[in-house]
């Protein structure tokens, strides 16, 4: 086994626990998407080209017939803007990647792939083979599990009968809990939620997402405390 395939396997093995946790979530996504009216092929196409779990759940929640192009593209930018910061950070450590390879690599970026790649940077340095071991195995598991969910989901009827329409909210709540750090998180979430629910009741369309998001971000900026940042800087390697 060459050095490259060894690095590729090392990446795939490192990400294995994440793959096991991701597969059922992907099956759930596929099921919800076909219930919303997408064909299994469309589910696969979205998973294969967009390849962004959180955005895909948000998009399917907003899905209508016909799907609103401008709103969903805008939503994609807003939900994924965190990737700009992740690649800005990881980009500095990709010295072993050629120019074009970097651009291919970035297609496979996810929150999890980023976290594992940054960890590898600190431990041994990041090779392209290791990174693609993470990214390609995640892509294969995500796309095949989404398709599996889509095929299973075709046999199900009215989603509300199973509480499936609440499944989005339940999944998002679980992801949100992972973002909790201190009381400021609570204030940000309270403002975002209050503004979003109010706008939803008063304004037609899905603009409540933007309104709530901006309210939360504004509150986070207003609550920013320099003392906390200095404290964090001392503990976190940056």
């Amino acid at each position: 086994m060459g050095a490259r395939s060894q690095e590729f396997s090392a990446g795939a093995i490192a990400i294995l626990p994440v793959l096991i946790a991701t597969a059922p979530v992907a099956v759930l996504f596929g099921t919800l998407a076909v219930v919303k009216g997408l064909s299994p092929f469309e589910v696969w196409l979205m998973s294969a080209t967009v390849f962004a779990g959180a955005l895909q759940f948000v998009a399917i929640d907003q899905w209508a017939d016909p799907a609103p192009l401008g709103l969903l593209v805008f939503t994609a930018l807003v939900v994924n803007v965190r990737h700009v910061l992740m690649t800005a950070s990881l980009g500095r450590s990709m010295t072993g990647f050629s120019g074009p390879t970097k651009y291919v690599a970035m297609f496979f970026l996810s929150d999890e792939a980023w976290a594992f790649a940054e960890r590898r940077v600190r431990e041994a340095g990041l090779t392209p083979a290791y990174y693609f071991g993470i990214g390609v195995s995640m892509w294969l598991v995500w796309t095949s599990s989404c398709l599996l969910g889509a095929v299973i989901g075709r046999g199900l009827g009215d989603p509300s009968a199973y509480g499936f329409n609440f499944a989005f909210s339940a999944v998002f709540i679980c992801i949100l809990v992972g973002f909790w750090s201190n009381w400021r998180t609570g204030v940000v979430l309270a403002c975002s939620g209050a503004v979003s629910a109010t706008v939803h009741l008063l304004v037609p369309g899905a603009w409540y997402i933007m309104a709530g998001a901006f309210a939360g971000v504004g509150v986070a900026a207003a609550l920013h405390a320099e003392i906390d940042e200095q404290k964090t800087d001392g503990v976190m390697p940056s």
Partner: protein
């Protein structure tokens, strides 16, 4: 195999927008060092977006959804994602039957 033209356009649009956020960082490596108020605002973006997405369902649909959301929060602090989400869905079905 069926593919609607509008659906295909939306998927391609979302894919391009997502890819743009993934490569923009390669041009903006100085953003990684952003600190202070701007950093706090950017860190708050993902949770603020997620909260805004679920708020109408959780806060403005009915008592069953609101209570089930609280149960999901408690479950999510203790259990893996899929188990906690399943507990939330099961409780909303039970609560809808009870409350009506």
């Amino acid at each position: 195999m069926s593919l609607d033209t509008n659906t295909a356009l939306v998927i391609i649009g979302m894919a391009l927008a997502t890819y743009l956020t993934r490569i923009a960082g390669l041009w903006l490596t100085q953003l990684a060092g952003v600190k202070g108020r701007a950093r706090s605002a950017m860190d708050a973006l993902p949770p603020a977006v997620l909260m805004a997405v679920i708020a109408p369902t959780v806060l403005a649909t009915g008592l069953a959804e609101t209570i089930a959301a609280c149960i999901t929060v408690i479950a999510a602090f203790r259990l893996p994602l899929l188990v906690a989400a399943a507990a939330g869905v099961a409780s909303v079905v039970a609560l809808r039957t009870l409350i009506g």
